[in-house]
């Protein structure tokens, strides 16, 4: 069998990006393998690291010419969900070298970032202008901000999550045959510079005209186009930020509290963790985590109240008073601290990417996540379902963490079970995998909506919506007729 080095592929790729930006070293290729969820059917044959959009276009055109499968990747390892693992042998298009923060616009509270920009860098840059980056909860330090937004990962501030597409606004996309496109108001007329001169800021995510391809590429796992930059919303960096907790045995009570707080847009960051997930976020070693978890109530609601650029004290005061009234109404007890963290520490933790090791790996070194969208009122039911399944399958319920993140201003939520396991323990790994699969399937049957269908979830999610599958396949055919983009992912494999 010819190696990549001998194949024309590497040469042709090198012609585009230079030989130093193409690799087929096994250790490099291995770093794109996902966790246990990836179950690769194909392997990376090379990686290519373009530095700009023109190179991306050239790579895509080459892929069309040679019939290569391209798998876009932006974040660094570790990878969990298998999004970058090829279903068929293919070339990883590693976009991490495209790491410019093209613009941070304080007036309009918007930035343009390339795929290689990590949250840590983005945050530092935005804060220079008193702006806040909307982040998911404790992203890993190597996580690409753009990839996170493209994947519709939930951010921790539901109040500013007006729509599922937030905080992403416009984007530049290279479609499957190498065509360039820009979405929303970035589409034109005019270049970015022309638009900036006129005071425009690539802020309108809708369009151009009667389509919104930014929505189409979001959640597509790189199957419909490669995004080379995106404009994203920023918030005001708070002048005051106070973090509070509500610990409770009853999730129902916290859910009721959550509904009311979101109805009147009172809190900024707002999320619920169970004792294991909270302890994993706060402590580093497994022993510390277990000890800390013991001290926590079953559920901890964490929320922050912020004051911004005008009368921050006044804002914080009315919000605190409002929330306090709601808590009283529902019998929820608010505190400034929980075992292991006070307000300040918690605020620091959720304002930053995860420290190492990545928080979900701290307890046992491995994690299988089951996450989906649902409404807050249904979350207690899913917890019962998971507990029952875990007990039936002999998996310790105590080794499962829970994270509930209200999204779309509290209209629904990202619900995430974290099944911790020791990857070096084969039987435990097998049990975790079994629970992962069974829970995923069972919960889908109970109304869990796998809106970001990685790996085996694709079958689960798409078997339930044949009409959506039909249309997605047609769209795929239009945007990527030669199927060069992340072949076999989502519903674009043969079996669906």
């Amino acid at each position: 069998m010819a190696t990549v080095a001998e194949s024309p592929v590497k040469k042709r790729l090198s012609d585009i990006v230079g030989s130093q930006a193409v690799s087929d070293k096994p250790d490099v290729l291995q770093s794109y393998a996902g966790g246990p969820g990836s179950a690769p059917r194909g392997k990376p044959i090379a990686t290519v690291r373009p530095r700009n959009r023109n190179e991306v276009q050239a790579i895509v055109r080459l892929a069309n010419e040679l019939g290569i499968n391209l798998v876009p990747a932006s974040s660094g390892p570790p990878r969990f969900r298998g999004g970058t693992v090829p279903c068929e042998a293919g070339v990883i298009v590693d976009l991490s070298a495209m790491d410019r923060i093209v613009r941070v616009d304080r007036l309009n509270m918007v930035a343009i970032i390339e795929p290689g920009v990590t949250f840590a860098r983005f945050k530092a840059e935005a804060e220079k202008q008193q702006l806040r980056v909307f982040m998911p909860l404790l992203p890993r330090s190597t996580k690409s901000a753009l990839a996170s937004y493209l994947d519709r990962e939930p951010i921790t501030i539901p109040k500013y999550h007006w729509d599922m597409s937030d905080p992403m606004l416009t984007a530049e996309i290279v479609f499957g045959e190498g065509d360039l496109f820009r979405t929303g108001s970035a589409a034109g007329p005019g270049s970015l510079e022309d638009q900036w001169k006129m005071g425009l800021a690539q802020k309108n995510p809708e369009g151009p005209a009667q389509t919104s391809f930014n929505r189409v590429v979001q959640g597509a796992q790189g199957t419909l186009g490669i995004v080379t930059w995106a404009s994203v919303k920023l918030g005001m960096l708070p002048e005051i930020k106070r973090c509070y907790f509500a610990q409770d045995d009853s999730l129902e009570r916290l859910v009721d509290f959550s509904y009311r707080v979101h109805r009147i847009k009172l809190a900024d960051d707002f999320l619920i963790l169970d004792r294991m997930a909270l302890a994993s976020a706060l402590a580093e070693s497994p022993d510390e985590i277990r000890a800390l978890a013991e001290k926590q109530a079953p559920y901890t609601l964490i929320y922050c109240v912020c004051g911004y650029w005008h009368f921050p004290e006044k804002r914080v005061a009315y919000q605190e008073k409002g929330i306090s009234g709601i808590a009283q109404h529902y019998g929820v007890r608010l505190t400034n601290e929980v075992p292991g963290a006070g307000s300040k520490r918690m605020s620091e933790i959720i304002d930053n990417p995860s420290s190492e090791p990545y928080w979900k790996l701290r307890l046992k070194g491995g994690v299988r996540e089951v996450f989906f969208l649902t409404t807050m009122d249904k979350t207690p039911g899913f917890i019962k379902q998971m507990e029952t399944l875990a007990e039936e399958r002999g998996f310790p319920v105590g080794d499962i963490g829970l994270y509930i993140q209200p999204v779309q201003q509290g209209r629904n939520c990202h619900m995430e079970f974290q099944i911790y396991y020791n990857p070096d323990d084969e039987p435990e790994t097998a049990r975790a995998n079994k629970l992962f699969k069974e829970a995923s399937r069972a919960m889908a049957g109970s109304g869990a909506f796998f809106s970001r269908p990685y790996g085996p979830w694709a079958d689960i999610a798409y078997s339930r919506c044949p009409d959506t599958v039909w249309m997605l396949k047609e769209i795929k055919e239009m945007l990527d007729p030669n199927r060069v983009l992340n072949r076999g992912k989502l519903c674009f494999g043969e079996e669906i």
Binding site: R53, L107, M109, D163, M164, D179, L180, F181, R182, S185, G188, P189, G190, D194, K197, M198, G199, A201, N204, E206, A209, Q210, T211, S212, F213, N214, R215, V216, G219, L224, R263, I264, K265, W309, F311, K314, R315, A317, Y318, G322, L373, T375, D377, Q409, G410, R411, G447, F449, F450, S451, A458, A461, D467, T468, M471, L472, E474, I475, M478, L490
Partner: protein
Amino acid sequence: MKQTGPSLISPPIGDEAYKDLEEAVGPEFVTREPAVLDGYAWQPLWNEGPEMWVHRPIAVVLPASTEEVQAVVKICNKHGLKFKAICTGWGALAGPRCENVVQIELRRMDRILEIDEKNMFVVVEPHAIGGQVMAETMRKGLHTHIVSSGAASSPLASATSCVGCAPDGTYMNWSSRNLLGVEWVLPDGEVIRLGTLGSGDGWFCGDGPGPSLRGVLRGRLGAFGGNGVFTKCALKLYNWPGPPEPVPEGFLYDTELELPPHCKAYIMFFPDRKSLADATQAITVEGIGYNAFKPGMGSLLTMIVPHLLHKESWKKAKYLKKAIQAFNYQFLEVLATDSAEELEFQEAVMRDEVSKHGGFMMDMEHTGMAEMIFWTFVLSSNYPIFFKAAGMFITAYGQDESHHSMVMASPDGEKIKQKWIDRGGILDDNADSGIHFMMEESTVSHYEEPIEFDHRNPDQTRTIKPIEMEFTHMQAEHCMESGITSPVMRKMFGPTEGFYTKWQKGIGNIIDPRGCADDYLYNAEPVEGEPLPDDPAILEMTEKLADIATKMAWTEDGPLE
């Protein structure tokens, strides 16, 4: 093809097709009576140029269910007819724009199917109008975004098919962003359900699994019925801190009802446009305002003293006009908050920004207008007033981007308007009527230029097309996409916006393989060799538009840098 004048009348529908329609929905819910059909062909609002009629539909049907809509669409496919849905029918966008169109009037599908109070959404059918949805949701302490065509319009139509912004946007977003689950009858008669609905998981999310088909369903504008029929959808609701059943006295300017606790109406004035832009941006990003917008003084005049604007003395009232112009940098804030402290905070921020920028603000209660302003905005009962002064209006520009780009563009719009006012082509509203409001606490800001005219006066109607063309030119100069498009404009400006037409047409081909939807406003190609109108103003502008479109067209490598 687009026709004009009497030729807008298609040959009658065939008996076989008509019989099929009767069988699909029942004979009493189909008509081909010419005078009845003309009720759907008279569309003077947002029509093209001097034309007030659109194509007369060949039949109108009144389906009562999704299944009946599907049956009608399939009959159109079978007989090679076009179809177009109409809801409340506000404007030519809703009317047939080509020959052989069966108009699907959705009036019988008017239910509010569910109000999910906790998860803050409402599920509606097409003809549940904004006023009805508001009335029912307010009872539950919730409110819904109503597009600035007002309470008579269909929230579903706005969310799925047609632009959709309003002064309530700062708190309640704009229509396309409020869409959750959707049921959509495609132009081949098949149904697709988006998001959670498609998976049987309820209405709460319209995106996924994986890529979101909401981006296929619509963009900034919506397909204006060119991509099928939307039969149900869920829309986001927002907090309403006022009374569950507000019952004001009066209809409009005579509105009387006490303001609810912690609610206010303020007007702020600024010394210049830049101050207005800076201050209102700063205020809005803090999340202030339930309804908030910059009215044009001209627009206010058309509402309050409509007769004055028709008088010769007004034309000559140079100093009065200047005095009025001086108050143009104003911003209206309708505040509806949940506590005295929140209200105090909002007021403090406004006061601070007004003071920083050398402006002043007035509590509308001191003017005696607070109740009227508050309730007519909260209930969206005010918008049709734009018809009062002249009989008809159009709104030009119609864009949404950063607040400063919108506000600072308006002087160019005023120049265009003034030119046509001077020529006697439109109502003299002092030309300073640019309207701005923000959505999502300033994610985008809107600019719209109302132009009022008497559509019964040929001297005025003939000016509308050239005015629209001038505004389109201005949009291009300001790097803004062209607005509501005709085939000619799409063809001209598609290349300036990344050749979007190629992809949009691709979607059209997927969902409408037999070309059954009336897609004049969506994907239709211009008719080759169609003679240009002989109006010199239109000819001149056609040339100018072609010129700027050519200059700004993308190459394969993107826009010219």
